[in-house]
């Protein structure tokens, strides 16, 4: 019989390793996509249009997950789409994290007018509906991968800033910070050497969650056709295509959807798993 704590730890273990397994496989597939994809993701062949996946009758060997209406290989497009998804996840996630966490750390540790300005900004930001805000930004910036990354950073920095600010305030009130100051550390030194290491676990958790959000935002924007050019394979673009031919070729929708679903789930479960792992009460 497991007691409560080891039960949580047991579940946390699975929560960490399954997502790590999926994400590393996906990362590997994304990097190796040009070499392992069975076909050119852009190659069209109207004679091979709407081929079903390999276990359904009427398929063509070599097209494992079927083809779309233009005869493009679904598996190859998913592999190449993984590159876009993970690229956005890593770049947008990291930049958002750096900006948001820095602002949160400054506001929470320095307090005073810095805190007032940053907190007011956060309040105004929270009054915008995020999906509408991102679409508005894309309208302003024009479609494209860079615009998506900028939009994610501009909208989501508050997620980091809010949490890190609160955390830095709690840490700042603790005795070890006062001792460091007494021992002669400057304000900046205290912030980077004493506070930062202690808020880092929270930041890592938020970063993981943010990467999942970035993947979904990219998918949504390419679904409404505001992402990169329509020829380049993206999961959201494939889903939009599959949606319009849902009764003729379900596989064009189902396979990118599975990839997207598992990736988003993996990032958020990894984040939650890390949260439990870092939690001193559970540890």
């Amino acid at each position: 019989m497991l007691d409560g704590r080891s039960m949580i730890r047991h579940r946390a273990g699975l929560r960490l390793w399954l997502p790590v397994l999926w994400l590393s496989a996906l990362g590997l597939a994304a990097i190796l996509a040009p070499w392992i994809a069975p076909h050119d993701p852009l190659a069209q062949d109207l004679f091979l249009g709407r081929l079903p996946p390999f276990w359904v009758a009427g398929t063509e060997p070599g097209y494992w997950l079927g083809t779309d209406s233009l005869g493009r290989d679904v598996l190859s497009r998913i592999l190449h789409g993984a590159r876009v998804a993970l690229l956005v996840a890593v770049t947008a996630g990291t930049i958002t994290c750096l900006i948001g966490a820095t602002l949160g750390l400054l506001a929470g540790f320095l307090r005073g007018w810095v805190d007032i300005v940053i907190s007011r900004l956060i309040d105004i930001w929270m009054a915008f509906p995020p999906v509408l805000f991102s679409i508005l930004l894309i309208a302003v910036l024009g479609p494209g991968l860079t615009s998506i990354i900028i939009a994610i950073v501009v909208i989501d920095w508050t997620r980091f800033a809010r949490v890190v600010r609160a955390e830095a305030m709690t840490q700042g009130a603790m005795d070890y910070v006062a001792s460091a100051r007494v021992a002669g550390r400057g304000r900046i030194g205290t912030m980077t050497r004493e506070i930062l290491p202690n808020v880092l676990p929270t930041v890592v958790v938020l970063l993981t969650l943010e990467m999942g959000i970035a993947v979904i935002v990219e998918a949504i924007l390419s679904f409404v056709n505001l992402s990169i050019s329509t020829d380049d394979p993206t999961w959201g673009g494939m889903i939009a295509e599959g949606r319009s031919a849902i009764h003729q070729s379900w596989w064009v929708l189902v396979f990118p959807l599975i990839a997207l679903f598992l990736t988003v789930l993996a990032f958020s479960q990894l984040g939650e798993g890390l949260k439990d792992r870092f939690d001193p009460v559970l540890r």
Binding site: D123, I124, A127, F128, P129, P130, V131, L132, I135, L136, L137, I138, A139, V140, G142, G212, I216, A219, I220, F223, V224, N225, L226, I239, R243, I246, H247, W250, L253, V254, L257, L260, F261, V264, L265, S268, Q269, E272
Partner: protein
């Protein structure tokens, strides 16, 4: 007195937020590259044609003047300008679509409260046992995956694999609609036209459920947490010793004291749900405000984008305001102060 002060402060901050939103939206939109006027004219239009049309829409004046004219129009006449693509007043277009989005959001909210409440009830009854574990896992998954993906999953399951619901539109186009308002769902009930009501629900159910799933998980988690805490209090034990069953104790004794934190959270989360309608309406080709917003962005219809964003911000802040006031009325500490 405390209540009155609270209301006054909240009204004031709401006004400030909305003013901030209006300013930001107006100026951000004007940075849009690409001349919307050039898109309205047929190819071969001369510079003079462009200038004439720009003057007609007031786009030739300095930005600050444009903002002044716009703000006066909005505040004094409720005039949000004219849509560039539809060539109709923005307010008319937006108000025509608002009921569809409101009905969808409210239906989603009702489903979320029902599902979340049921899962909290079942989880509390089975606390510490396998039932609770199963509910926790289900809530975790429901919460990790956003409404957009739930919409696609539902569409495949109940639109294609088992086609019980419609996957696009608000109502079957061939039906003859006797409605005078745009609140089709409410009006079909009032007119006792249950055939139309069933058709509307068959269109709305999947998008509403997709929006509801993440919110249901949040409600389920928090309500179960507060119920479990309340269930350990002495007065609940007393009710139990009187011989009431577990479900009766939860519903009649514990719920009243456990529901307040959930209520506040539902308010905040409801605004996220309304934001989610943008993409869900697109996915299900539902003719609401969100779908219109995406079309407006694709067509660079500046006055329309502006009107929709501001209307969304008004809804957001109104919901927050209502929740705060409800909380103040329901919280005994504030009510008697």
């Amino acid at each position: 007195m405390a209540l009155f002060r609270l209301v006054a402060i909240r009204l004031l901050t709401t006004g400030i937020t909305l003013a901030g939103v209006a300013v930001i939206v107006f100026f951000v939109i004007r940075v849009v590259p690409g001349n919307p006027i050039a898109m309205m004219l047929p190819p071969g239009a001369t510079e003079a044609d462009i200038a004439r049309l720009s003057a007609l829409y007031g786009l030739d004046k300095p930005l600050v003047t444009q903002f002044g004219i716009w703000l006066v129009g909005v505040v004094l006449q409720g005039d949000f300008g004219t849509s560039i693509t539809a060539r109709q007043p923005v307010l008319e277009l937006v108000l025509g679509r608002l009921p569809a989005t409101l009905e969808l959001s409210i239906m989603a909210l009702v489903i979320a409260i029902f599902l979340g409440g049921m899962s909290a009830l079942i989880g509390t009854r089975g606390r510490g046992r396998r039932t609770e574990g199963a509910i926790d896992v289900a809530n975790g998954v429901a919460l990790s995956v956003p409404d957009f993906l739930w919409g696609l999953v539902l569409m495949l399951l109940f639109g294609v694999l088992f086609p019980v619901f419609h996957i696009s539109g608000r109502v079957t186009p061939s039906l003859d609609l006797p409605f005078v308002t745009d609140f089709y769902l409410f009006e079909s009930l009032l007119r006792l036209r249950f055939d139309l009501w069933a058709d509307l629900v068959a269109h709305m159910f999947m998008p509403a459920l997709a929006l509801a799933i993440p919110l249901a998980a949040i409600i389920g988690q928090l309500l179960k947490q507060s119920l479990k805490e309340t269930m350990n209090l002495d007065y609940v034990t007393l009710a139990r010793t009187k011989g009431y069953g577990e479900t009766h104790v939860i519903l009649h004794e514990a719920l009243r004291n456990a529901v307040l934190p959930t209520l506040t959270l539902v308010g905040v989360q409801f605004t996220f749900l309304i934001g989610g309608t943008v993409i869900i309406e697109r996915l299900f080709s539902y003719e609401g405000l969100g779908n219109m917003a995406i079309d407006a962005v694709i067509n660079r219809d500046l006055p329309l984008i502006q009107g929709i964003v501001i209307l969304f911000a008004v809804i957001f802040t109104a919901v927050n305001l209502i929740v705060d006031l409800l909380y103040a009325v329901l919280n005994p500490r504030l009510r008697h102060a």
